[in-house]
C-alpha cells in the first residue's frame, strides 16, 4: 500500500480507514452525519494527510437508481445493464420499448434514465411513445446512448437530454467507455448533492467513486494477494445490498469489454437495511426449511435479534445469492458454478461469519441445488484488503 495515501471507504454500516497497511473499521453512528462521525473517530489520522493524498469511495448513499429503456434484451438492454452495474450503479427497472405502453410507471424518484437501442444507420426507432412514458416518470437525469439517427429527434423533444455515442457498434460490440464515464461522474455529482456525504470533499481533493466500481477495478489484481484461482466470484454482503463480481468465463454469453469481471447487484439482499426482504426471499425458497434444519435452527430465528440470528441471516444471504446466479433461478445472469475454483467474501459478512460457517453453507448449496460435491476454495477478505488494493491504484 502506498504509504503516502489515506484510503477511506464509507459503507452503509461501517466505514474503514486504511493507511500504512493498517485498516481500521468503525461501526457507523447513525445519530451523526457521516462526515462528523468520521472526523470524530479518525481526526488524528485524517489530519496527517494532505487533501490530495486522501482517496474515498462510498456506497453509503445507496448509489444512483437507474431505469433503462432499450429495444432488445440481447443487445441494447443487456449492454446498458452491464455498463451500469460495472459503473457501480443500481438498476431499479428495465423497460423493453415494445412494451412501454403497458408497463407500470415507477413511483420512485429515478436518478438517471438511460435510453438505448439500435445500431447507427437504423432510424425511427423512438417516437412519441417514449416521450409519453418519460412525461409520467420522475427523474433527475437522462442520457441517450442509442442509434445516431434518432438523436436529433430526441434532443429536440426531451429536456436536458445528454447524448453520448451509441453503446453498440456496427458489429454489435459494446462501446461502454462514454456511458461509464458519464455514470461515474454523475455518481460524483450525486454525492456532492447529498447532504450526508458532500462534506467529504472537505477532506479530499480526489473524485469519490462508488465502492462497487472500485472493487470491480481491483479484481484482476486479486491473485497477487490472495490464495485464489480463477474463475472465481467475489460476494460482498453488506448492510443494504449484496454484490457479486464474477469472472466472465463463468458465463456463456460474454461481451467484449475491457474488464475481465462483471458485477451483479441484489438490492434486496442486505442483512440490515433490507433485512425484511431478505427474510421474505428466504421464506419463498423451497429449500429454506431444510436449510434451517441443517443449520440447527427453526424459523423462529427470523424474529430474533441476536448474534446467532445475524449469522443465520448472513448464511441465508449467501445461499440465496448463489441460488440467484445458478440454474435453479433464471435471473439476468446464470453462472457456471461447477467451474468455480474460488469464492471470495468481503464486506460486513467477514466480520460475522467464520470460514467454516461459509464452507458449511456453500457445501449445502452445491449438494442440494447443483447435486454436486464440488468444493471451491473459500477466501475471506477480513481485512478489507480488496477495496484498499483498488483505491491505491
Amino acid at each position: 500500500m502506498n504509504e503516502n495515501r489515506l484510503l477511506i471507504d464509507v459503507g452503509s454500516t461501517y466505514f474503514k480507514v486504511a493507511a500504512n497497511n493498517d485498516v481500521q473499521q468503525h461501526f457507523r453512528d447513525f445519530n451523526k452525519n457521516i462526515f462528523d462521525d468520521l472526523k470524530y473517530k479518525c481526526e488524528d489520522i485524517i489530519s496527517k494527510y494532505q487533501k490530495e493524498d486522501i482517496f474515498i469511495c462510498s456506497s453509503a448513499n445507496g448509489g444512483l437508481s437507474t431505469l433503462i429503456i432499450g429495444i432488445t434484451h440481447s443487445f441494447s438492454l443487456k449492454y446498458a445493464i452491464n455498463t451500469a452495474y460495472n459503473s457501480g450503479i443500481n438498476i431499479i427497472d428495465t423497460v423493453l420499448y415494445s412494451q412501454i405502453e403497458e408497463v407500470s410507471i415507477p413511483s420512485d424518484l429515478i436518478d438517471v434514465v438511460i435510453v438505448v437501442g439500435a445500431i447507427d444507420g437504423v432510424s425511427g426507432v423512438f417516437d412519441e411513445k417514449l416521450l409519453n412514458y418519460l412525461s409520467q416518470i420522475n427523474y433527475s437525469n437522462i442520457v441517450y446512448v442509442g442509434n445516431k439517427d434518432d438523436a436529433p429527434y430526441l434532443k429536440e423533444n426531451i429536456e436536458k437530454l445528454v447524448i453520448l455515442p451509441n453503446i453498440i457498434d456496427e458489429k454489435l460490440h459494446i462501446q461502454e467507455e462514454p456511458l461509464k464515464e458519464y455514470l461515474t461522474n454523475l455518481y460524483q455529482a450525486d454525492i456532492v448533492g447529498k447532504e450526508d456525504i458532500k462534506h467529504l470533499y472537505d477532506i479530499t481533493a480526489n473524485q469519490i467513486f462508488s465502492t462497487p466500481y472500485i472493487v470491480n477495478q481491483t479484481l484482476p489484481l486479486l491473485v497477487s494477494k490472495f490464495k485464489v484461482a480463477d474463475p472465481y466470484i467475489l460476494i460482498d454482503i453488506g448492510g443494504a445490498t449484496t454484490d457479486i463480481h464474477y469472472s466472465k468465463d463463468l458465463v456463456d454469453d460474454n461481451m467484449v469489454i475491457d474488464n475481465e469481471y462483471d458485477r451483479l447487484v441484489f438490492k434486496k439482499l442486505g442483512v440490515f437495511k433490507s433485512k425484511e426482504s431478505l427474510i421474505f426471499s428466504a421464506k419463498n425458497n423451497e429449500f429454506v426449511y431444510e436449510l434451517l434444519a441443517y443449520l440447527k435452527v427453526t424459523e423462529n430465528i427470523f424474529d430474533e435479534q441476536s448474534e446467532k440470528a445475524l449469522k443465520i441471516l448472513m448464511q441465508l444471504a449467501i445461499f440465496l445469492v448463489l441460488c440467484k446466479v445458478s440454474n435453479y433461478n433464471k435471473a439476468y445472469v446464470t453462472l457456471k458454478l461447477n467451474a468455480l475454483n474460488s469464492l471470495v467474501f468481503t464486506g460486513g459478512i467477514t466480520k460475522v461469519l467464520q470460514q467454516e460457517d461459509i464452507e458449511n453453507i456453500v457445501s449445502f448449496f452445491y449438494k442440494k441445488i447443483l447435486n454436486s460435491n464440488h468444493n471451491p476454495s473459500i477466501v475471506m477478505d477480513s481485512n478489507y484488503d480488496i477495496w484498499t488494493m483498488a483505491t491505491r491504484d
Binding site: 458489429k171 460490440h173 491473485v223 497477487s224 490464495k227 485464489v228 484461482a229 480463477d230 474463475p231 469472472s247 466472465k248 468465463d249 458465463v251 456463456d252 454469453d253 460474454n254 461481451m255 467484449v256 475481465e260 457456471k336 461447477n338 467451474a339 475454483n341 474460488s342 454436486s372 460435491n373 464440488h374 468444493n375 476454495s377
Partner: protein, 454 residues
Amino acid sequence: MSLLQEEREIILNNEYVDNFDFAEVEEFVKNASKDLFISYNFAKSNKMLVQPRGGFPTYNKMFALYEFFVDANVDVLPCTIDSNTRLNDYATSKKMLRLSEENEVDMLNGYPLVNHGYRTTRKMMTHFNKPISLRHGTPDARLLIETAIASGIFEIEGGPITYLLPYSKNFPLDKAFLYWKYVERVCAKYSGLNEPINRESFGPLTATLVPPCITIVIQLLEMLLSLEEGVKSFSVSFSQSGSMNQDIVMGAVIKKLAKHYAKEINCEDAKVHLVYHQWMGAFPQNKDFAEQLINMSTVIASMVGADKIITKTREEASGIPTKEANAKTVANTQYTLRILNGLPNIVDEEEEEILTEEVMSIMEAVFNDPADTLWRKVFNSIKNGIIDVPFSPHIINNNEMITIRDANKNIRIIKRGKVPISDRCYEYEKSKCDLTKDTTSIVNDIIHDIGIMQ
C-alpha cells in the same frame, strides 16, 4: 509457497480429481522413459514423425486404438479429449463415460482424461513407451494439463489464440491468455526434471482461407509467450493451404522468423520444431480423392521439411474415423515418406520477401502496442483488428479481412481491414487476383473455396 503453487493446489482440489500428489508426479516425470518425450524423439529421429488423430471415451477402446496405431508404425500417439472436458464440464463427461462403459456405445467424442484420472491413464501411456500428444481445444486447460503430464503425456497442443479464435464464440480472450500462462509455467517447471515438455501451437486456425501472414504471426506470438515463461521445446505449425507453392514459402518463412524472434527475446537456446497438418478443410466425399489429397499433403510436408506430420483419414467427410481408418492412414503416410527421396529445394524469392515483410509489419505493430506485457499487447492487437482471423466465430475477432484464391490457388488478401500490411504488399496481393469480378462472383468464389478439394 509460490503463487503458482497456491493456484495449482486450488485447481487440483476439484471434486473430479482424485487426490493429486505433486511430489509423486514430480518423481514420475523425473524418472520417466525418455521415449515418452517428443522433444527427445525430435532430437534422435532422422525422419519426419507421423502422428494420427484419435480418442475414444473408454479405457479399453483407447487402449485398442493405441494397439492398432503401434501396429501401423505410428511415431506419436494422440490423445484427443472429448468436447465436454474441453468445456470444463467434467460432470457431463463423467456421466457419459459411465454410459459408454455400460452400453458399449461411444457417448463422447474423445478421451475424458480428467475423469479417468492420472493414475489409471498413466498405465496406458507408459505401456506403449511412445510419445503422446494431447489434442483438445480448451481455453482453460489448467486442470487438463496437470492431469496429462501426471499421466505421462509430455506434449501439449494449443495456445490462447489458436485454441480460442477457431473454437469459441464467447470465452474471454484475456482469460485464455492468463490460463495458458499457467500452462506454460507448469510445462516449464516440469521441463527441468527430465527432457523438456514440448508445447505445440495449433496452426490451422479456422482452416478456411487464412492468409499465411496471419497464421505465421499467431504461431510466432504463441511461441514467444511460451518461451518467455521458460518452455524449451516448442512446435510451430500450419496446415496444407491448398497451394503447394504457398506452403513451401510459408515453411521457409516460419522457420526463419521463429529463429529470429526467439533470439529477439534471448531464447535462442529453445528448440523450435515445425509441424505440418494434412488438409484441414472440407474433405471430398469420394474416399479415393480424399486419399489422394492426404498423399499430396505428405509430399508437401516433406518439401517444407516438417519435423512432424499430423494425419487425416479417407473417412473424414463421412463421420468420426474408425481406428482401422486411422491406422491405415498412418501406414500409408509412412510408406509415402519412405519412398520420397531427393526432393528438389524450391524457393520463390519474391513470395518469401513479400510474406516476410507482411509478417514483420504485423509483429512490429503488436510490439508497438503500449501495454506492459506481451500477452496484453497481443490481446489488444486482436481486439483492435491488427490480427484478424478470417471466419473466426469469436466475438472479439475483427472479421474485416477478406481473402480469396488467385488463379494458382494461393490465398490472397483483397481487403486488409486493420491489419497493418504495407501498401506495397497489399498491392502485390491484390495484383494476383481478378478483382474486376462483381461482388456476388467473389462471394461465390469464397463459398466455393470452402469445398475446394471436392
